[in-house]
Amino acid sequence: MASQVSNAKDQGIAGCHTCGLAVNMNNQSHVECPRCGSEVHYRKPNSVSRACAFLIAAFIMYIPANTEPMMRTTALGSEEADTIMSGVLYFLSAGEWYLALVIFAASVMLPLLKIIAIGYILVSIQRGSAQRQMEKTSLYRIAEILGKWSMLDIFVVGLMVMLVQLGNLTAIDPGPAVIAFALVVILTMFAEEALDPKLIWDQTE
């Protein structure tokens, strides 16, 4: 099936990443797009290693994002620092299990699943696996769409910090985990951007 279909690379043609122009590569790996001047490659250069670097960085930042406090609430002189998980547990104990679920899904599970998904795709590309290419592509697409929603947490903290500033009465300040968490989201987006999904289909049985 896949082996019978001839792809652009086999024909020495690559699409410009910027303007989409199909370019004859003239047996070169890097050429300049004659229409818009962008670089043209068959595949994104160093795709796997770049995606890998971003993914590792994202995974490293995932640790402080979860262990450090996300939000510091000062109410009437007593200060409380909440990590993501302590926030989830707080909502659970308060009986608001659906809120806890949303936070847990968007802030804990989603970034982790995204890292795992991209990591899985990268590993399979590296190993030259030609199995479940359709599923891997769907996984990539889902990760791309849902990954953005992880920023929800950052927006919530940003809004809270902005709104709840009542001086001595109550004040909310961002914790160091906010930066770490934002970096996780951004780095996974970079990783997914760096990863060329065409690579999934390069291996044919």
Binding site: N24, N46, S49, A53, F54
Partner: protein, 555 residues
């Protein structure tokens, strides 16, 4: 294939060839930076060595593990990481972890206390903790060795750092109304406050810790004297009544004042020096002046009304204080002798015959010489009622004319000054009797009969006016005048004057009379007698000016 390729080449744009050098991909810098950043975030708390100390509290109400904060002047410097009961001791061990505090600052003299709402007469404190919960206040001190075990204060303290000043300890017989935070005043200026107080270990005194702010702490010298200015002081002594109050605030919260000898150039007393807290300024002054005193013994037949602390005066000048009133047995006669021990204060003696810096021996001798001279001049000690209302007595050194010569004797180095007995009550009664006798001697009956005679004569005169010729009237008038002349107006006047003089003497005597209820009654009687005397004097004066009033009555 070739056709296909050629076909595509014609359809597909030909690329411009571009060479690019290959090498280490800079993208790998990102995970390295991320690793460094994440590692720093996660491990910064672990790497940082946090100072942990244990504080024992008797009462750890409202302290919550991992929640209660440690504050220094309202700035969070740490938190409570553990609260547990020490087995057997009954204390509560509170483990504190400091965030970012120089371990050098937490020395053995560092103090901890729990801040919670407290309502006292001095004010309400820690109100903010009603909502936020209690917290532990740390009061670091840079002096001393670093330590990790502390005993928390039961009562809030006053910060030592950034609050220059010195702590002193006062010992008082009783606390009075001095409370924590009560002001310490120097010449009515607030210079410090009472930081805490407690019963001394042997329960004999109250120990009060005060904090004097810099630069006023320099005013506290070795010989500085402290006294209580709390509340309202009503003092009724032999010298009269006195009412003292420092300020309304001290009336409620109490207060302490201190003062120095004006010339004192001594260095500042070291921190935690112990001073005596006197009950009142009077006590303090007395204590200051009897810092050196010469004892003197006075034997009296009767010491009624004489109390410890009563003054001894010479010609109205206070020269000493009664120290003790007691009784002893005379060795030879087996007679009980009452006596008063007097503390002569050389600083008060007329002419200041002793210098503060002389030796005690020299000062004692000076005092003895002074009193020997007095005794030879005929001065004797005498008990006198100073206050007719309270009956309190004082000792008077006064010139007495008719006395046998006597001199100061010395028994075991204690001077015994000659005394004369107090004017006895019998003498006063005798004087009153003589006054009454003089009043009796006024010939009131004679005056009355003379008046009756005069009026009858007048009646005769009136009836005979119409019948008798003018000449006869003249004769009658002459006779009437002669009769009037016979009226003992002069004698009445003289008697009245005498009576008045006697009354005056009586009043004087009674002023010195024994006190108590008798004194009050005597005083009333005296007032009555005084009024009677005034009336009599008025009558005498009127009669002198208007002798005809005897006939015609008062107009």
């Amino acid at each position: 294939m070739t056709d296909e390729t050629t076909q595509s080449t014609t359809r597909v744009a030909t690329a411009n060839v571009k060479q690019k050098s290959k090498g280490f991909s800079p993208v790998w810098v990102i995970p390295i930076v991320a690793a460094l950043l994440g590692g720093w975030m996660v491990f910064q708390n672990l790497l940082e060595e946090k100072l942990t100390v244990t504080v024992k509290f008797k009462d750890a109400g409202g302290l919550v593990k991992d929640k209660t904060l440690v504050k220094y002047r309202d700035i969070v410097v740490g938190k409570v990481t553990d609260v547990h009961i020490e087995h057997g001791a009954g204390d509560i061990n509170v483990v504190l972890q400091f965030d970012d505090v120089d371990p050098e600052a937490i020395t053995e003299s560092t103090r901890f206390w729990v801040v919670k709402p407290r309502v006292g007469l001095g004010g309400v404190t820690g109100l903010d903790t009603l909502l936020s919960g209690s917290y532990i206040e740390v009061d670091p001190d840079l002096k001393g060795e670093p330590a990790t075990e502390f005993i928390g204060l039961d009562e809030p303290g006053i910060h030592q750092l950034g609050n220059p000043g010195t702590r002193y300890n006062l010992q008082a017989y009783r606390l009075g109304s001095v409370g924590r935070g009560a002001p310490v005043k120097y010449r009515d200026i607030n210079v410090g406050q009472v930081s805490r107080y407690e019963l001394a270990e042997d329960n004999s005194t109250v120990e009060i810790e005060i904090f004097i702010r810099a630069p006023y702490d320099k005013l506290v010298k070795k010989d500085t004297r402290f006294w209580n200015i709390s509340g309202l002081e009503v003092d009724a002594g032999a010298e009269g009544f006195a009412l003292k109050m420092a300020s309304v605030a001290t009336l409620i919260a109490g207060g302490i004042a201190f003062n120095n000898n004006d010339e004192s150039t001594a260095a500042q007393a070291p921190a935690h020096s112990v001073f005596t807290l006197y009950d009142s300024e009077d006590d303090e002054i007395i204590a200051a002046e009897v810092a050196f005193s010469v004892p003197m013994k006075l034997y009296f037949d009767d010491v009624q009304g004489l109390e410890e602390g009563a003054p001894a005066t010479y010609k109205g000048l206070r020269i000493g204080t009664i120290d003790q009133v007691s009784i002893e047995e005379d060795d030879d006669n087996q007679v009980m002798l009452t006596f008063a021990m007097l503390k002569i204060e050389p600083d008060r003696l007329p002419g200041k015959l002793s210098n503060r810096f002389d030796s005690d021996d020299k000062r004692t001798k000076g005092v003895h010489r002074f009193f020997e001279a007095l005794a030879t001049r005929g001065v004797r000690a005498q008990l006198k009622t100073g206050n007719l209302l309270t009956g309190k007595a004082l000792v008077l050194f006064d010139d007495s004319r008719q006395v046998e010569p006597a001199s100061v004797e010395y028994v075991d180095g204690v001077a015994v000054f000659p005394t004369i007995p107090q004017e006895s009550f019998e003498a006063i009664i005798a004087k009153v009797d003589s006054i009454l006798a003089k009043i009796d001697a006024i010939p009131i009956e004679k005056i009355g009969s003379n008046l009756a005679q005069t009026s009858s004569n007048l009646a005769q005169t009136t009836t005979s006016v119409n019948e008798v010729p003018i000449a006869e009237i003249g004769d009658n008038l002459a006779a009437l005048t002669a009769k009037l002349d016979k009226l003992p107006v002069g004698q009445i006047g003289k008697d009245l004057a005498e009576t008045l003089a006697s009354l005056e003497a009586l009043i004087e005597t009674l002023n010195a009379a024994k006190g108590g209820v008798l004194g009050v009654q005597t005083h009333k009687a005296l007032t009555e007698i005084g009024r009677a005397a005034t009336a009599l004097r008025g009558m005498a004066e009127y009669l002198e000016r208007h002798p005809e009033a005897l006939l015609k009555g008062k107009k």
